[in-house]
Chain length 235, copies 2
């Protein structure tokens, strides 16, 4: 039986944009596990109630509920040690943990003003009141003001990426010669702006941009995921 | 012949506070190399002219000049491969490179408002005009305004440390069970606020604070380095 992944989706259920759910999608692909990515809405909490909390990603594996992208990654290696490992050794896990934490606590806050104003455009009508009130509370201003200065929002995003830019100037992947879970964490995080921004947010000539292309080449299925740009072009 | 390290110093030559020079001090200690840390002032550039640039740390090893803490670390491993390695393997180097870049491009900018107003208090009179004009240009405001809101400056510092805090909640060192050069990079970076702030800037009950104590226990000589607090107590 395939694993079920509850995956944040827009009003168009094919639009998947959560930076955390993307990490889990990449992890499941890396393991080669069969899974179904079921669309989840912000207001559809009863769908994941059995996980004991209210946020995706959540997976259900043979009746076992696991939430939180980091914990899911650990679970997958523990449960399927014979499939390709996300953390081949303790050093790789330690390294991934720091990069994952950096994505959560530094890069995402620096990306927020760029992407939050785009999220409300794509989510289901039923989700909009919740999204607006929770984000306005967190950001301390009306959504219309968040990212109103587009140049400042882009500057914050590019500045936020600097640690990766400086690292990738010198090596092919954050983990070195080969990608590790830390690379998946950054790749998944960047799928948030990549999926939702009206123009490509990543400078493909930068070190991060070239790394992003290398990651896409290793996971060509990612390039087929709908974005607001591909959906607008298809409409 | 001992290696010469040109090390940024205050008007009191015993006060050493550069976050980059500290990384090199820690690296030289880790290698077990004999070195002399010669005090250097911002306006003493002719002292390091042979390095071909104007910033410390600079080392001179048997007539060979090397600058930039990261390049010095690579040089030390390359030149002294039989002494304890800073980068025992490619994975450790890749991991350290990211943490080092994070210190430079994320943590230091988040620490600046806390520490820059303290720097001008301790440097030599001759350095003050240069320091003021360069920092006011970089920060876009008079030094008296930088960090005037002490609570905001401390909040930015604590927020900047969050990726390390989240990582160290779960593991003893950034590199895992044992410290690596990434741990030295963070430890050295934190010696900037630790040396210069009028009160201890690190919450010793936090995960970072407990890690800092573990690092101190491994390098007890660091605790003997003068700080503005120890110098005020001794005066």
């Amino acid at each position: 039986m395939p694993i079920t992944l509850y995956d944040l989706a827009g009003a168009n259920p094919d639009l998947r944009f959560s930076p955390y759910c993307w990490r889990t999608r990449l992890a499941l692909h890396h393991k080669g596990l069969d899974f179904e990515a079921v669309p989840h809405c912000f207001t559809g909490r009863e769908q994941i109630a059995k996980s004991g909390q209210s946020k995706v990603p959540v997976i259900v594996d043979d009746g076992h509920w696991v939430h939180d992208s980091w914990k899911i990654a650990l679970y997958l290696d523990e449960t399927y040690p014979d499939l390709p490992l996300l953390f081949p050794d303790a050093a790789a896990r330690a390294q991934a943990k720091f990069i994952n934490s950096w994505c959560d606590w530094s890069l995402l806050p620096n990306t927020r003003t760029l992407v939050v104003p785009e999220v409300i455009k794509v989510i289901a009508e039923a989700d909009k009141a919740y999204f607006r009130s929770s984000r306005e509370k967190a950001l301390g201003m009306p959504l219309e003001q968040v990212g109103a200065d587009k140049a400042a929002a882009m500057k914050s995003f590019v500045q936020g990426l600097k640690p990766a830019e400086a690292t990738l100037d010198d090596q092919d992947f954050l983990h070195g010669a080969k990608p590790g879970y830390g690379d998946m964490a950054l790749f998944g995080t960047l799928m948030w702006p990549v999926t939702l921004c009206p123009s490509d947010p990543i400078d493909r000539q930068s070190a991060v941009g070239k790394w992003f292309e290398r990651m896409l080449a290793l996971s060509p299925w990612v390039a087929k995921a709908p974005t607001v740009r591909s959906l607008a072009g298809a409409a």
